[in-house]
Symmetry: C2
Subunit: 214 residues, 2 copies
């Protein structure tokens, strides 16, 4: 058994600590955020911090590192308000990972990584053609976390695209049927195998498996 | 291909929309939060919203639904400041799910679900004995999201426990070796299979597989 207290964690080499702390809280979502600058330059960046914020209204969030260096995605979102969130699949995670390279602002990660740009229904921001699940989002707000100057960006989900055959009758999306990957730490990828869905828990009864979301 | 715009999403039945929007942003972490009330009552609750906030200092966060009903976990954390985060494994996800039942405040979810309470190194909050990865955390701050009155709670990771054999030499935790599950939507569970770790991305080169995190 490994046991680390505050002082032990503080004394770890910085990269080692980042690998440890980034991976230990659990699995993460894995998405590509597509955006466009005011000058019309497209940008694509991988994020493992996209989270569910609420269903009514439909909101998602993501954590952005401090604005001490150039953050093209945030600058674009602040300027044009709209962006896309596109899920990374097992077919394309290497290309998706490559979007994290520090390209010059004038360079489009679509071009450099060979990921296919796609425009849908007059939405201003580019989608990823290879992604099976895509969302068109509108910037709503952001919160600066004073503990480390990271930002929580909150956005409205305004458009959804997903293929037939991955949704249960009760609305639930079977991410495993979409070949969606999950992110581990800063550089790890895994492909989940479906285990179960369980009925709404109530005191005094045991949860049962939900059959086909019906 | 399914396509839903803002008005379509708004018109969905509430439970269907919740299933859809909760699941579509991607895979989520799956943890049990252990806490104690001022009166000494223990509480255990499953959360799929624990996220990485920062490594230096080590911070995690989680989203809490609006305080319009009783939220024992938040009340306990505000009162005593300390709580535990314990990963859910494939062996125990049914019991973990059952902690989401609305038990009376006086009832301990440990007792009701058969999950084993454990105290470690004089920490005030209870850990989950069955969890292979456990964290002792201290409340730091919270942010109220004005869009839907949810809270983002920010906490310092002060203690870490994990078994031998799941950490790469560079610090990365192999969650798959810990049998950690990932959460899908409000009631789904999946077990990820490791795909890859990729080298730090740089313009002009292709990411390669990291061998054993060395």
């Amino acid at each position: 058994m490994n046991q680390l207290f505050t002082e032990d964690i503080a004394e770890l080499p910085s990269r080692f600590r980042a690998n440890l702390i980034n991976s230990i809280t659990g699995y993460k979502s894995c998405n590509l955020i597509g955006s466009t600058s005011e000058e019309g330059l497209t940008n694509l960046a991988i994020f493992s911090s996209v989270i569910h914020i609420g269903s009514s209204p439909p909101l998602l969030g993501f954590i952005l590192r401090p604005l001490t260096v150039r953050r093209d995605t945030f600058a674009n979102i602040k300027a044009l308000k709209f962006f896309t969130v596109n899920q990374v699949s097992g077919e394309m995670y290497q290309k998706a990972h490559q979007t994290s390279a520090k390209y010059e602002m004038e360079v489009s990660e679509f071009h450099e990584t060979g990921i296919t740009m796609e425009y849908l229904d007059d939405f201003i921001a580019p989608y990823v053609a290879e992604s099976t699940i895509k969302m068109g989002c509108r910037y709503v707000n952001h919160y600066t976390l004073e503990e480390n100057d990271c930002l929580l960006v909150v956005a409205a989900i305004e458009r959804l695209y997903f293929p037939d055959g991955i949704q249960d009758p009760d609305g639930f999306i079977r991410l495993d049927k979409a070949d969606t990957v999950t992110a581990m730490g800063m550089d790890g990828y895994a492909l989940p195998a479906f285990l179960d869905r369980l009925t709404y828990a109530r005191p005094g009864s045991e949860p049962r498996t939900i059959i086909h979301g019906a």
